[in-house]
């Protein structure tokens, strides 16, 4: 009986010990943080101090957007997609807690050439009622217009051609093809797009936490390669695929990156 009890105690002590292979013991983490700037300066909301490429005086009230499919591109050619289906991240200029994303994954140590992501949500993942809770649920894109979620809401005002301060809703999501505008939709256009961040190479040492700052340079939405004129497109573009196409083309160079040590 004594021997059996001893055996039980030994098994108890050793049996509960969790051992992991040495390679998995190191923890490498990424923190993605987000910032908003206009013409190189930190965004000042609700102040009509900005002028875009088309010469529109404008202010920004709020920005809300999704990024997804964040992928790390290793120098050996391999890629690492973080958090798979859970990687759709919401960023809101009014909600500081959304502006820092502590990525759950244990990132393999090594040298990475670049970071890329999807601006918005790809067709496969962009499913209605995927988000039930605010604030993400408030981003829903109406079923009639293609469903899923807004990629971005950028709300502001501009001084229009009549010198009237007018609101604009620079909203991006699934576009529509119309047989007769604004009724009779005959097809949808997936407007999400890939961005490879410039200057986003980094080396992840073992047990390191790497903070990477993603800066949205708001003026670039209106600058290149297309000069976006609020006077031409007006206050709303959810049903104007031509405007959304221009915006998405401009979105390629909207983000810059700062890799912190």
């Amino acid at each position: 009986m004594t021997q059996r009890l001893l055996l039980i105690i030994v098994l108890f002590c050793f049996g509960c010990k969790k051992e992991t292979p040495p390679d998995e013991q190191s923890q490498q983490k990424i923190i993605l943080s987000f910032d908003f700037r206009v013409d190189g300066e930190k965004l000042q909301t609700d102040t009509m101090i900005y002028i875009n490429e088309a010469g529109n005086h404008y202010l920004v009230n709020e920005i809300q957007f999704f990024i997804s499919d964040v992928t790390l591109h290793h120098t050996d050619g391999s890629t690492y997609l973080i958090q798979e289906w859970k990687d759709i991240h919401y960023i809101d200029s009014d909600l500081p807690e959304t502006q820092t994303w502590n990525v759950f994954d244990n990132i393999p140590a090594g040298s990475y050439q670049s970071i890329s992501f999807t601006f918005g949500i790809n067709e496969e993942k962009n499913q209605s009622l995927m988000f039930l809770n605010p604030p993400e649920s408030f981003m829903f894109w109406p079923q009639y217009l293609g469903g899923g979620y807004h990629y971005m809401k950028l709300n502001g005002k501009w001084l229009d051609e009549n010198q009237q301060i007018s609101p604009f809703n620079f909203h991006l999501g699934i576009g529509q093809i119309y047989y007769s505008y604004p009724d009779s939709i005959t097809g949808f256009v997936q407007n999400y797009f890939q961005i490879t961040l410039p200057n986003s190479s980094f080396t992840m040492e073992k047990n390191q936490t790497k903070e990477i700052l993603l800066i949205m340079n708001i003026e670039n939405w209106f600058r290149s390669p297309n000069t976006y004129d609020h006077d031409k497109w007006g206050g709303n573009i959810m049903q104007k695929q031509d405007a959304m196409r221009l915006a998405c083309e401009n979105g390629q160079d909207v983000f810059t990156t700062v890799v912190k040590k």
Binding site: L11, F12, G15, E19, S128, F140, Y144, I165, N169, N236
Partner: protein, 384 residues
Amino acid sequence: MSRKITYHSVRASLGIPLIVILLLSSCKKEAPAPSPYQPTPYQIEIPFGFPTNLNIPADNPMTVEGIELGRYLFYDGRISGRTHPDSLMSCGTCHLQANAFECGIDHPTYTGGFPYGITGKPTPHVMLPMINLIWNHTGYLWNGAVLNIEDLVWMGVVAEHEMNSDTNRAKEVIQQIPGYPELFQKAFGSETVTMKNIGRAIAQFIRTFISANSKFDRYLHGEVQLSPSEISGFILFTTEEGADCFHCHGGYGNPLFTTHLFYNNGKDSLFTGPYEDPRDRYHVTGDPMDYGAYKATTLRNIAVTGPYMHDGRFATLDEVIEFYSHHLVWSPYINPLMHHITNGGVQLTPSEKADLKAFIATLHDEEFLTNPAFGPPEKFPDEK
């Protein structure tokens, strides 16, 4: 050397502590009789598509007993701290179930839907409906100044434009009514009536007010079809080139039919000096962009919740639709989502207005308005 945890080792490792616990337990003195305070947890059933995050304060979990007590208190006029028949006023005096728990334009006492308190003093704003408030995380009243329903109950008891009582009188009157102390014991573990527990009980009851069985809900479930006019109205509701309601008032992806957020929706042009409303959102946040901003109401059961807007300026839904269609007023503080301000509104045609109204009518939930569980109890505790 890796070492796996086997079923046998787990069983063995559990065996020792179990023996020890059994030995210790056998030496323990006989436990005292269980407390009679054993409230039954109340489970909220979340309807299809609704948020899963509920606003239930950690210090006021919902229980069957708390809700039962809250129902009595909600409808008991003696909560006003008085017993004379002319001085009785309960929450239910103004918050009529048939009108989605606001007084409504057809209230027998408050003509036109403009309530006033026991003193005759009118409320500063008209009422908001009590629908699906368990999903409201942005405060209560038109400006969100009151952060939880529990505090709202206190305000109702003491405000001059409501019951004009004081919390001591209210709790003392309730304490003396046979049956209530026992109900407080069951709900909160003490027969002593406190204002805090009065607020907690009524808040629990109000959090059960869930509307999710309108025609539109059944349409989403595939149980009914909308009429062509209702479908057209739904499309208008959810398109920017249409009536453009959805950014503030929800839709398929936001079945609450409100964001519970605050917007200056273009009713007025001036908000300072003599035009200043000390109860708009600005007076909560201090942000000038919130001048003239008020909570977007849910559109569920909107047909019975007139008059409309914070000041009740519109008596009918037709007037509201007309306002959004043609009569928006520009100001520097108008919310950016009101981009149709440039044209004075969304410019609906008469048939589009009819379609939009037809769609909004599909948000009527008769079950909510007649559910006996939300209505007055047949008898109060001292009548049993």
